[in-house]
């Protein structure tokens, strides 16, 4: 409601003016018409501006806060007062012993997720589409979404129970004589990446397939009928009709997946990490959380976070380029 009094008098003065000299007349008229329009949509403007104010506070002020990466910010002073230090924090991060391991973990987990986790939902969607019974297909789909709606805290709890040295996984492996001694999986760094990637696929497989299934559903059935007459088998139809038809969807989702490659699922890793597996579980986001919020080194942590964003943007641009070259689809 704050903006209403401002709009009202402005509109009145614009409309109620005495005739002015001809040259200025047209301009004045346009102005008064604009003000009249603004007045007529004052309620809409209030609604819109409330949203804009929210965005300024919760999106744009934090964006401005990014500059603390180049300052020595201290919680007592304001961001403006903090002294500039240039690229000092970036240099410190690159020289830090943790830099190599943090980058290796972030890229390792992310790339494995991309190369294994990205194609699997497509394959799942292709095969699910071949199920003949509609009700069976529907039921499988509903079940496959389920893990998406369960939080990482709960899934982490389940994983810890299963992977413990008395857990189900060890029991199975022992029964099959694949191991002699139970393994405490989450305490050993070499298993961490595997655990993170497998559990992420388990959680998101069905959910990620939704878009592909919807894209497949919009393929014209005539194409399949024609290919049946030509004697195509099921695999041939999948390969020559279904897959090319959803190529555009795949490209767009691939670009998006690449751009978020460095955000290696913070929620998940924060639950599963512990001091014993730190050498393979310390990714950029976790590093930022620890140095920034837990040790209070805000500027340093922000520099690391900014470094991540820059790489993410570069990756996005590369992926966009590549898919544009390959098949003429791109995000922008």
């Amino acid at each position: 409601m704050r903006n209403q009094p401002h709009a009202e008098p402005a509109a009145e003065t614009g409309a109620g003016r005495a005739p002015a000299p001809p040259l200025e007349d047209a301009r004045k008229l346009a102005r008064s018409r604009w003000l009249k329009k603004l007045y007529s949509q004052r309620h809409l403007q209030i609604m819109a501006l409330l949203g804009v104010i929210w965005m300024i506070i919760f999106n744009y002020i934090p964006m401005y806060g990014v500059i603390i990466a180049f300052k020595e910010f201290n919680i007592i002073k304001s961001i403006g007062e903090a002294p500039w230090v240039g690229l000092e924090h970036f240099k410190e991060f690159f020289a830090n012993d943790d830099f190599t391991s943090v980058m290796r973990n972030t890229l390792g987990i992310s790339l494995l997720k991309l190369f294994i986790g990205f194609p699997l939902p497509i394959i799942f969607a292709l095969f699910l589409n071949e199920i003949r019974s509609f009700r069976y297909k529907r039921t499988i789909q509903t079940i496959s979404y389920l893990p998406h709606f369960i939080s990482w805290v709960i899934l982490g709890g389940i994983l810890m129970t299963w992977l413990a040295d008395t857990g189900v996984i060890n029991k199975i492996l022992l029964a099959l004589n694949m191991i002699d001694q139970p393994i405490t999986f989450l305490a050993e760094p070499k298993y961490f990446w595997g655990i993170v990637i497998t559990s992420d696929i388990w959680k998101e497989l069905g959910w990620s397939a939704i878009i592909y299934l919807a894209a497949i559903a919009s393929i014209s059935p005539e194409m399949y009928e024609a290919s049946t007459i030509d004697g195509a088998g099921r695999f041939q139809k999948m390969w020559y009709i279904t897959l090319p038809s959803i190529k555009a969807t795949i490209s767009i989702l691939f670009i998006l997946a690449v751009s978020s490659v460095l955000s290696s699922n913070f929620d998940q890793i924060l639950v599963l990490r512990n001091p014993l597996n730190e050498s393979t579980s310390n990714v950029i986001d976790i590093f930022v959380y620890h140095t920034g919020l837990q040790n209070g080194r805000y500027s340093y942590a922000q520099a690391v976070s900014l470094f991540k964003s820059i790489i993410a943007i570069i990756l996005l641009l590369i992926a966009n380029r590549v898919t544009k070259k390959l098949n003429d689809t791109s995000l922008f």
């Binding site: 949509q41 809409l44 403007q45 609604m47 819109a48 409330l50 949203g51 804009v52 929210w54 965005m55 999106n59 744009y60 002020i61 964006m63 401005y64 806060g65 990014v66 603390i68 961001i79 799942f124 095969f127 071949e130 199920i131 069976y136 039921t139 499988i140 509903t142 079940i143 496959s144 979404y145 389920l146 893990p147 709606f149 369960i150 990482w152 805290v153 709960i154 982490g156 709890g157 389940i158 810890m160 129970t161 299963w162 939704i210 878009i211 088998g233 099921r234 695999f235 913070f266 929620d267 924060l270 639950v271 599963l272 986001d285 930022v288 920034g292 919020l293 805000y298 922000q302 976070s305």
Partner: protein
């Protein structure tokens, strides 16, 4: 149309059906495992080997959960933040989306540009934390609601829907002398139930499952949601704290592990029951989001 299956097709169908059955089993079983263990006597479950059905059926784990003041307070916070959060988020985002979706809105293009920028650039964890701190929202219930009350992504989904509402509906209301507020509340919202259900489901799941807000912004344990409570129990292995809150009479047969299982069941069941009914809405919502996003 009657089609004869060839032998190859029949084999393919058999393997495919079987493969899907395995996928379903792998999806459901870990959740089933928690369920049967939660309904089993705690001491007995320590021996292990409960895979398909409770060996010694018991409701004591759940009794312990419902009598633990810590768990019930946290559950209350979760329910409150989900209900209030969804209501505020849907109403506010829809309101802004309605204004943005009107043709001829002065500054409309600029507003949408400002929003689009927020989808690609964010301040990130540290500046957001500093902002919340400056706004005095640390250790306040508002931190669950206000920073989450708007999402430009959801706005796009709303806007796509609003633009398809026939103009006649609004014009009729305008002739009757209704202003934009009452058109939005009395005309636009009632015909937008499918999209409201979609956004409410997405945001409801977010509010229900979010534990990180509670971890970084809340110190007061009376204000932490159940997911944050469980995070502390699970990831930081402070399960003794869980036992300490259980009244003496029950604690003979329940263990920290069995209470954990029962709490996980209580926390997850509401979502598991709700989502199949809203399925058709979120599939649609995902589609709009993916095309526009």
């Amino acid at each position: 149309m009657f089609k004869r299956k060839t032998k190859g097709e029949a084999i393919f169908d058999m393997f495919n059906n079987f493969g899907m059955l395995i996928v379903c089993f792998l999806t459901i079983y870990p959740i089933w495992y928690v369920l049967v263990n939660a309904f089993n006597d705690g001491q007995d479950a320590m021996r292990g080997g409960i895979y398909w059905w409770p060996r010694e059926f018991s409701l004591q784990n759940f009794e312990a959960v419902f009598q633990s003041s810590g768990i019930m307070t946290a559950m209350g916070v979760t329910v409150a933040k989900t209900v209030v959060g969804v209501f505020v988020h849907v109403l506010f985002t829809a309101m802004v989306a309605y204004a943005f979706s009107r043709k001829g809105l002065i500054g409309g293009k600029l507003y949408i540009f400002l929003g689009t920028v927020t989808m690609f650039f964010t301040g990130g964890l540290i500046p957001t934390y500093l902002l919340i701190k400056d706004l005095n929202m640390l250790d306040s219930f508002l931190v669950y609601i206000i920073p989450a009350m708007f999402s430009f992504f959801d706005l796009i989904i709303f806007m796509t829907f609003f633009r398809e509402i026939p103009d006649g509906l609004e014009e009729a209301a305008k002739i009757d002398g209704a202003n934009d507020w009452s058109i939005f509340l009395r005309v636009v919202l009632p015909v937008s139930m499918p999209v409201i259900a979609t956004i409410a489901l997405f945001h409801g799941v977010y509010q229900w499952n979010d534990y990180f807000t509670g971890v970084i912004y809340i110190n007061n344990t009376d204000l932490q949601p159940i997911q944050t409570y469980l995070y502390k129990v699970i990831a930081q292995s402070s399960s003794n704290q869980m036992m300490a809150q259980v009244p003496g009479g029950i604690s003979k047969t329940v263990t920290s592990q069995s209470i954990k299982m029962a709490t996980m069941v209580v926390t997850t069941l509401p979502i598991v029951f709700v989502y199949p009914f809203l399925q058709r809405y979120f599939v649609k919502g995902m589609m709009i989001g993916s095309i526009k996003g």
